[in-house]
């Protein structure tokens, strides 16, 4: 018989406490959406006496909610597409075509990883305004892609360099062009890294608040982060409605996270530890 393992028991106990601290506010948020304001005030953290679906229903029936979600999705998908294409194309040049100054150009793009978006946010606002992009999704998409470039070029270049050189040479002998190799070989063979970068760019864009905040004024173009803050402003004391709203916005993020966690972890370990 095994003796009582106090080490393992203590380990599990600590893990459960920390896990409870993580899950407690999330559960309270989820449950809060089923309660009336009065019940929420009296018993904020217990199971609801009556499961009321009307507050969730209100949010789901609110066309603004769907417009926020759609805007977020649109912005995130286009940001992913533009970041992947421009980043991968640039990284391909750095990986396959050495020319005088190419190293400097790459260092220039990599510097972007260090520059905080926040530091340039005021001139960026002026720039976006002068380009006529205020209140358009492009005013969010293009700067997001630009600030994501350094990170993606670094990961792409590292990955492209690891693709066997002989593959490129064999294809050259078979008669492929440099551009053809990129589309027919580099991209299809790089799905792991494309997936990783895509997931990161997507999550960053989906969760972005500061940039939409300065670029978008019209609530019709709001992503959900802005929409949520607006909703909170409207229902300042009705926490049950706000909590229902928050829960519904988190659902896609959580589903996405569970589906893509492999890529997220790969990105963290590949991008972070090597960085």
């Amino acid at each position: 018989m095994r003796t009582f393992d106090w080490r393992d028991t203590a380990r599990i106990a600590i893990l459960l406490v920390v896990a409870a601290t993580i899950l407690f506010p999330l559960a309270a948020t989820f449950l809060g959406g089923f309660k009336t304001s009065g019940e929420l005030r009296l018993a904020p953290f217990s199971l609801p006496e009556v499961w009321r679906f009307e507050f969730y229903g209100d949010v789901l029936g609110n066309p603004n909610f769907w417009s926020y979600m759609w805007n977020s999705l649109f912005i995130a998908l286009l940001t992913v597409f533009i970041t992947l294409m421009t980043g991968a194309m640039a990284a391909y040049v750095f990986s396959h075509i050495k020319f005088f100054g190419s190293d400097y150009i790459m260092s220039y793009l990599l510097l972007g990883m260090m520059f905080p978006l926040a530091a340039a946010v005021v001139p960026l606002f002026i720039k976006i305004r002068d380009l006529g992009l205020l209140d358009t999704p492009w005013g969010v998409i293009l700067p997001q892609a630009a600030f994501g470039l350094g990170f993606s070029v670094l990961l792409f270049k590292t990955f492209f360099d690891q693709l066997p050189r002989e593959l490129f040479e064999a294809a050259r002998i078979d008669g492929i062009s440099y551009i053809g190799f990129f589309f027919r070989f580099t991209l299809p063979l790089s799905t792991p890294i494309l997936g990783t970068v895509a997931v990161f760019v997507f999550v960053t864009s989906w969760n972005n608040y500061l940039l939409p905040l300065i670029v978008l004024n019209d609530s019709a173009s709001f992503p959900w982060t802005l929409g949520m803050m607006q909703y909170r402003g409207e229902f300042i004391v009705e926490w049950n409605k706000i909590l229902a709203f928050v829960t519904l916005t988190l659902v896609p993020a959580l589903i996405f996270f569970l589906a893509a966690q492999r890529y997220i972890v790969a990105g963290l370990t590949g991008g972070a530890v090597k960085g």
Partner: protein, 335 residues
């Protein structure tokens, strides 16, 4: 007519000359093997013929046409790589037919030609598989199939067998030699393995530090090496080189004799010494003999030969099998 000529070809990397001016002719329909130790420039040379390395100066012609600066795809060559370089995301059929597809060959014709190539290489059953699902030998065949299907004037092989195990390598050597006969194309084959060179080549080119040491048929190189480098490189176990008084007797700086050309006899003694080690291989016995005047000598004896460690033996060369070299290692002829 697909003779390959290298005229005054050189290659430098950032000012360091790895190939000094070099001239070489690969005759039409020959199986030429470039052989040498690693770093001798044989792969660089092959890659320059392929167009994968830029030529620093000089000229390459294939079938009389100057291809020095031509695109790799437009030289009429095909190449088989050491790692096979199969396209991992394509099926075997697509791998083999890829060059034809890029050349905008009609689909039907691609299909027929891929089938033909697959038939030659016994790959018909694997055409729909991805390279991942193939064994090493099958991958090797796909790589060759990819070359065959283009019907190139010249095949280039870059150490294609070095990733295979010994048994498979022996088998592929035979298959490649047969393929050469069947296709009748010019083949240039790079290896560091002199056995591959000896067994497959019509013509061997021995390279050292970017310089051609000797060019010739396998047995010419074996029988009449032009210098000590070739003498030692070709043949296994390698040729014994004796110097000092022994060499002086024959009027040279060094005298070379192959292990298999020595016998235990005192008719014409050249070396005598003590057997320090013997390897019994069954068919042969390889004896290592320590001699006072000539150092360590290796001799290949009949497998049935009873030989005791520590016994003293005297060795004589077969007539005409001694090679004499001068102080620079150049051949002075036979004795």
């Amino acid at each position: 007519m697909a003779e390959v000529r290298l005229n005054n070809l050189t290659k430098s990397y950032g000012g360091v000359e790895v190939i000094p001016p070099l001239d070489l002719t690969i005759p039409d329909k020959s199986f030429s093997v470039l052989v040498g130790p690693s770093g001798c420039g044989k792969s660089t040379l092959l890659r320059m013929v392929a167009g994968l390395e830029e030529v620093t100066s000089g000229q390459i012609t294939i079938g009389g046409e100057d291809v020095t600066d031509a695109d790799p795809a437009k030289r009429g060559i095909a190449m088989v790589f050491q790692s096979y370089a199969l396209y991992p995301h394509m099926s075997v059929a697509d791998n083999i037919g890829f060059a034809l597809k890029l050349a905008k060959t009609p689909k039907d014709e691609i299909r027929t030609r891929v089938k033909e190539a697959a038939a030659i290489l016994q790959l018909e059953d694997y055409l729909d598989r991805k390279p991942k699902a193939l064994s090493g030998g099958q991958r090797q065949r796909v790589a060759i199939g990819r070359a065959i299907v283009r019907q190139p004037k010249v095949f280039l092989f870059d150490e294609p067998l070095s990733n295979l195990d010994a048994a498979l390598r022996a088998q592929m050597r035979v298959e490649l030699a047969e393929l050469h006969e069947k296709l009748g194309a010019t083949m240039i084959y790079v290896t560091h393995d002199q056995v591959e060179a000896m067994t497959m080549a019509d013509q061997i080119v021995v390279l050292k530090k970017g310089e051609v040491q000797q060019v010739g048929a396998p047995l010419d190189l074996y029988n009449t090496p032009e210098n000590t480098f070739v003498a030692e490189f070709i043949g296994m176990p390698k040729m014994n080189l004796l110097n000092g008084a022994t060499a002086a007797r024959f009027g040279g700086d060094k005298v070379g004799v192959r292990p298999e050309h020595l016998e235990i006899s005192s008719d014409n003694p050249i070396v005598s010494g003590e057997v320090v080690h013997a390897e019994y291989l069954g068919a042969d016995t390889i004896a290592h003999v320590q001699s006072a005047e000539a150092g360590r000598v290796v001799v290949r004896l009949d497998g049935s030969h009873p030989l005791q460690r520590g016994s003293e033996i005297t060795l004589s060369p077969r007539p005409g099998c001694l090679r004499i070299f001068d102080a620079n290692g150049q051949s002075l002829g036979a004795a």
